[in-house]
């Protein structure tokens, strides 16, 4: 009897490994062993597969069954090997004809009644499958829309084990309802986000966020509770240009591994807002059986927003420092090492003091001077170093609030879509400028180049040098202001930052400085 072999895929991070599933049935006492370092979810596959086969109307071979998942040294986890194990058992039991399945890939979890259940990480798994030369993929129907994002593979979705078997026996593939309802990516509406037109007042903050969107500047919002910090941050992804196809696939892959609810067709940059009590592992990524991406990787090519940032436990925010430098994160665990992309725009929000009322004239603030000074100091210096814009978000006035009644389309109410168009144009300008350089956005211009190829206008440089002489800004602040000024220049279509633009950048950086 030739050994039965089927193929599946194990994912570690975004990288796949082809897993060969061998099934051997021999004489001996009825016994059922699963080899190849399975974790507990995979070990339970034995019982799921057994029930699924019996409840799908197939007998159970009461013989010595050995199932081996190779490579044997690689620890395997999860439920996506249920389907290939079941098919392998049927093949070796001669229920299925001996067909060539060497270019076929099986993925799927089985329910006890033989129903096929969706699995995680289908998109990255199939990207790998295509590269590894597989031709056909069999998977649960619910994973079909995601799977179809990968072109050039014959992908079949099924609702139950019986449907798979029928297909393998007869070649009949029935288009089930969910195959037919497969929607084209063009027809999907962008995720609902807060529109800038819905936020009243906050002119400065809106302008600053638009500038941040142009240059990818990390931003800190400081303001009293209820002023609109969270709304502003939530509106930021709406200002970022839509993701290109490749980038959208990358983002969807990351979300697919973690099993998040993000629409697989979405081209809106992701917005991820972990709570301030989050752990470093949840933020950065980790886990022992599978190394899952953390919030920073889910926010890849989008916005990572941390509200009440000073309330984070010490060390949590500082774990962001290295990913902010390298735009990726490498996580090492016993089962291996995984690198996830983590190129996100960081937005932190903070109250000005523990009670939140130390703003404007500071009326009603019950905090002591010491408490106020200590509060924002909880954000460490090295982290603040990476933040280009510090904004004071004030309570909107009554006049500003009444403005919200104005209909969208009136002159002074700009929607996110209007602002996004401007951002897109500005980004096109900076992209053209950076063609010959290894960086993509204004926030990444190295200091050396800011003093060489990327100087502001003469008068503007004089202004900055004066501020430097008066010790109003540090050398680091000097460079950050210049980077921001370049984003303003791109937005206002100047060839070089003007004095006015540099002054605006100066104000955006120092206004939030609480001494």
């Amino acid at each position: 009897v030739p050994a039965i072999k089927l193929n599946s895929i194990a994912l570690l991070g975004l990288t796949g490994t082809a897993i060969e599933i061998e099934v051997d049935i021999s004489d001996g006492l009825p016994n059922y062993t699963l080899l190849g370092l399975p974790d507990s979810a995979l070990l339970e596959a034995r019982d799921r597969v057994r029930s699924a086969l019996q409840n799908s109307g197939f007998g159970w071979p009461n013989r010595k069954i050995t199932i081996s998942l190779s490579p044997a040294w690689l620890p395997k986890s999860g439920s996506n090997f249920d389907l290939p194990i079941a098919i392998g058992l049927l093949l070796s039991n001669a229920i299925l004809p001996n067909i060539d399945l060497s270019k076929d890939l099986f993925l799927g979890e089985l329910g006890l009644n033989g129903q096929l259940r969706p699995v995680r990480g289908v998109l990255p798994a199939l990207v790998f499958a295509k590269r590894a030369g597989f031709k056909r993929v069999y998977l649960p129907n619910e994973n079909l829309p995601e799977a179809k994002l990968v072109s050039d593979l014959n992908i079949y979705g099924f609702n139950s084990l019986n449907q798979v078997i029928e297909y393998l026996q007869t070649g009949n593939y029935f288009q089930t309802e969910s195959n037919l309802n497969y929607v084209d990516s063009e027809n999907i509406e962008p995720d609902s986000l807060i529109d800038f037109a819905d936020i009243s007042g906050q002119k400065n903050a809106k302008l600053a966020l638009q500038i941040a969107a142009v240059g990818g500047h990390h931003t800190l919002l400081i303001g009293p509770p209820g002023a609109g910090k969270t709304m502003l941050a939530q509106a930021l992804p709406g200002l970022l240009p839509e993701l290109e196809n490749e980038a959208a696939l990358e983002v969807t892959s990351l979300h697919s591994i973690s099993g998040s609810k993000r629409s697989i067709y979405s081209k809106t940059p992701p917005f991820v807002a972990p709570h301030h009590t989050t752990t470093a592992t949840a933020l950065v990524g980790g886990g022992s059986q599978t190394i899952k991406p953390g919030a920073i990787s889910l926010a890849h090519r989008g916005v990572l927003f941390i509200d009440e940032a000073p309330e984070c436990k010490s060390g949590i925010l500082d774990s962001l420092r290295q990913p902010l430098e390298t735009n990726s994160v490498t996580i090492t665990r016993a089962i291996g090492s995984v690198t996830y992309p983590a190129n996100f725009q960081l937005v932190l929000a903070a109250n000005p003091c523990p009670c939140g009322k130390f703003t404007g004239r500071g009326r009603g603030c019950a905090c002591s001077q010491l408490q106020i000074r200590r509060y924002l100091n909880r954000l460490s210096g090295p982290l603040l170093d990476r933040i280009d814009l510090k904004l004071l978000v004030e309570q909107p006035t009554r006049a500003e609030l009444s403005n919200i009644d104005k209909k969208i389309g009136e002159k002074d109410v700009q929607t996110s879509a209007d602002l996004r168009r401007q951002v897109k144009r500005a980004r096109a300008r900076s992209n053209a400028r950076f063609k010959e350089f290894p960086w993509q956005s204004n926030s990444q211009i190295p200091a050396r180049y800011l003093r060489g190829d990327f100087l502001a206008e003469q008068s503007a440089m004089t202004f900055l040098h004066t501020q430097l002489d008066k010790e109003r800004i540090s050398a680091r602040g000097f460079h950050k202001i210049l980077r921001t000024a370049w984003s303003i220049a791109d937005l206002q279509e100047s060839d070089r930052p003007t004095l006015e633009q540099v002054q605006l950048a100066f104000n955006l950086r120092t206004a939030g400085e609480i001494e």
Binding site: D27, G28, L29, P30, N62, K64
Partner: protein, 122 residues
């Protein structure tokens, strides 16, 4: 078939064992011992194969497979007991160290009398 349902458990076992003994005799085996007992327990059948191998047989009899395959009840503990029993038998009979093996046989009565005989499984 209806007649079998009247068996008590012990009778059922004896009936199965006699069927397996007949099965072996048909294949030119010589029955050496039946229901041999010692401190550790009981061996259902001991036979000698045409090639001279001593064969110990554990017989499991069930009316039907409603409660799973009969041989599924032979777990690791039972397997090691069977090995111990086989060695005890050889020592008692002073047969030296002949080649021996342990077989298992499952007898089911319904729907038809069926013997599932497995060679050298322990």
């Amino acid at each position: 078939v209806a007649g079998f349902t009247g068996f008590h458990n012990q009778d059922l076992g004896r009936f199965g064992e006699s069927k397996v003994a007949q099965y072996l005799i048909n294949r030119k085996y010589q029955i050496l011992d039946q229901n041999w007992r010692c401190q550790s327990g009981e061996i259902d059948l001991v036979a000698k194969s045409p090639a001279g191998t001593i064969v110990f047989v554990e017989v499991k009899t069930r009316r039907n497979s409603a409660f799973g395959h009969p041989l599924e009840s032979i777990d690791a503990i039972k397997q090691s007991r069977l090995t111990r029993l086989a060695r005890n038998w050889l020592r008692t009979k002073k047969l030296g160290a002949p080649t021996y093996r342990i077989d298992c046989a499952a007898v089911t009565l319904e729907p038809n009398l069926h013997i599932d005989y497995r060679i050298g499984v322990i």
